[in-house]
């Protein structure tokens, strides 16, 4: 029962022989993909599949879901809750929650519109003040959480109440304020780049593809130069190809309708920027560290309190932006803006997109994917004429269904991994 131990090997560690190196070329890509399916390590694929499924179901039910103008509407409406969801991703990365974001969205929209409409302030200035107020609110939450030690849940629950009170107070007796006709806020939702010029859409899509491809190439070059394992060209090509197809098809669809919607551009821009901050800067690394193990982060000399406070400022700032988009979409700021399902939808978006509620795992792209799922369900159901009770039940079922796929694949991953 004994084997002869090897005694010839050199002591300095070479590449671990147990690491399954993928075959080169396309075959290797396919093999790797198969392995990933088996071990459930599929990243965003299940959510994207869920999205496709939702689209297919609603299209077959209504025949209108894949209309260019419906799709355009969806891309416009994801911006408001989507931006709030981006803020939530940051908070969730810390393993915390921010319940106040709906109210913060509401109070910011109220401040911006009251200042610009009733007090006649310059609209840009009004917007800046509103965002500034939101940042201050976030800093206050962060302070009570990080410095006083009140659980974030309680701080932001108190905020949820207090800021919606403030929102009512700011709007005052006269209530709802219409946003300025054709003003900055009004245009957030309604403007199409170049007033619907299709050139903008194509340019935007191609820019995206080129940046993505170039980034991947450069990275791969640097890694090879440093003697590290790098993505093979075939894979870079394939990935860029997939991105290109998505971008170009989207551009084509948008151009069938009104062109490139401003809210989509801003939302995508913010997702890209925040993703960069999280993955490519020390600050982002610190957020992950605090979320993954606060004690380890503290012992590494990270200023945990500052990370926490700043994250709550970011989430409040994003909520303010989101609130402005919602005001733009409904044409007014009112006492209800930001209440109801807004917060839940945004949190759900982040979670559906794959951000963990327990900290340390997630990305802002999940806000985009998740809110697309949710907004597709909402819009799809709007096209189906059933009564409100049934609609609620279906929404619940579809929401669950969209995540089951993802969970099943993750479960495989879990059972084949540690823990």
């Amino acid at each position: 029962m004994s084997t002869n131990p090897t005694t010839t090997e050199a002591p300095a560690p070479a590449v671990d022989p147990r690491l399954l190196v993928r075959e080169a070329g396309f075959a290797g890509y396919v093999g790797e993909f198969k392995r990933k399916i088996k071990s459930g390590d599929l990243g965003s694929v299940p959510v994207v599949l869920g999205l496709i499924l939702i689209g297919a179901i609603f299209q077959s039910l209504t025949g209108d879901f894949l209309n260019a103008d419906n799709l355009t509407n969806i891309t416009k409406w994801v911006a408001g809750p989507g931006l709030i969801a981006v803020g939530i991703v940051f908070v969730l990365l810390l393993g915390e929650i921010d319940l106040s974001l709906g109210s913060v969205a509401g109070v910011s929209a109220a401040i911006a519109s009251v200042l610009s409409v009733r007090s006649g302030l310059n609209e840009w200035l009004a917007i800046l003040i509103a965002i500034g107020a939101a940042l201050a609110i976030g800093a206050l939450h962060g302070f009570f959480f990080a410095k006083i030690g009140v659980p974030a849940f309680v701080v932001t629950l108190a905020g949820l109440l207090a800021w919606s009170g403030l929102q009512m107070y700011v709007l005052g007796d006269k209530g709802t304020v219409n946003v300025i006709n054709d003003g900055v806020i009004a245009n957030l939702d309604t403007y199409f780049l170049g007033d619907g010029d299709i050139a903008f859409t194509w340019a935007f899509a191609i820019l995206g593809i080129v940046l993505f491809g170039a980034g991947q190439l450069l990275d791969s070059k640097r890694r090879s130069a440093a003697g590290l394992s790098a993505r093979p060209m075939s894979e870079i090509g394939l990935r860029t190809g997939v991105i290109a197809v998505i971008a170009l098809v989207s551009a084509y669809m948008l151009n069938q309708d009104r062109g490139l919607p401003l809210p989509l551009v801003i939302f995508l821009g913010i997702v890209v920027i925040t993703d960069f901050v999280l993955r490519r800067t020390s600050y982002g690394r610190q957020i992950f560290a605090v979320g993954g193990g606060i004690e380890a982060a503290r012992r590494a000399g990270i200023n945990v309190a500052w990370v926490r406070i700043s994250v709550f400022m970011i989430s409040a700032g994003m909520a303010a932006l989101g609130g402005l988009f919602i005001a733009s979409q409904q044409g007014s700021a009112d006492k209800l803006l930001g209440s109801g399902n807004v917060l839940m939808n945004s949190i759900a978006a982040a979670v559906i997109g794959g951000t963990s509620l327990f900290g340390g795992r997630g990305k802002t792209w999940s806000a985009l994917l998740g809110i697309l799922v949710i907004q597709s369900i909402i819009t799809g159901l709007d096209l189906v004429h059933v009564n409100q009770a049934i609609q609620y039940m279906i929404t619940g079922a579809v929401l669950l269904g969209a995540v089951v796929l993802d969970s099943v694949s993750r479960r495989t991953q879990k059972s084949s991994g540690r823990g």
Partner: protein, 265 residues
Amino acid sequence: MKEMVHVTGAPVLALRGVSKRFGAVQALTDVHLEVHAGEVVALVGDNGAGKSTLVKTIAGVHPIDEGSIEWDGTQVGINRPHDAQALGVATVYQDLALCDNLDVVGNLFLGRELRRFGTLDEVAMEKRAKELLDTLSIRIPSVRIPIAALSGGQRQVVAIARALVGDPKIVILDEPTAALGVEQTAQVLDLVERLRDRGLGVILISHNMADVKAVADTVAVLRLGRNNGVFEVASTSHEEIISAITGATENAVTRRQARIAEEAK
């Protein structure tokens, strides 16, 4: 190197051709292992050799990908920790796996609480806990403080004591003395011998060759996830085992010794 396998009847536990993979890492490849009643098998190997992974497959933490596990000669499926416990496997994990929020007593009896009129018998458990810890000669300020407040060695002793609650047939100890002081280490080695004498099978993982040589009957070496020899302790030298572990006769240990000898001159 001699091919001598210690046999006293059929093995209680036998692994046959076990493989286990994590994502892109093949942690175990075609591993065989046998443990007999009243035998102490030392499982040794370099860091990352797959020892803990092997132990976890036996304990039901990770189900195996390929191969089979035999218990008293019949093939069994161990898919969750509960299965292993039901067979009679008690495991002390390297990462201890204690509940930070429960106190020492709570952790010791977790899953096997003593009861009285259907409710927890805290008095009996606390008494028994004190006795158990005393035999391992550890001083813990109070058995009612949460595990989170214990020192590294104190936690390790609690984890070891846990394995003694209940009535196992095989005890697996994954680096049980890593965090222990000299006195506690001696107690654990005594304990291992007592378990053997009571006819239990013991799998002991350790990087300490002195300890291994002191209590083990057989040494199984893992290297890069594969078997790399099984040795009869009595008839194998320290150096033979080390070179099976590192896969080289010349290694950092010998180099260091050579250098020190050199400097001493």
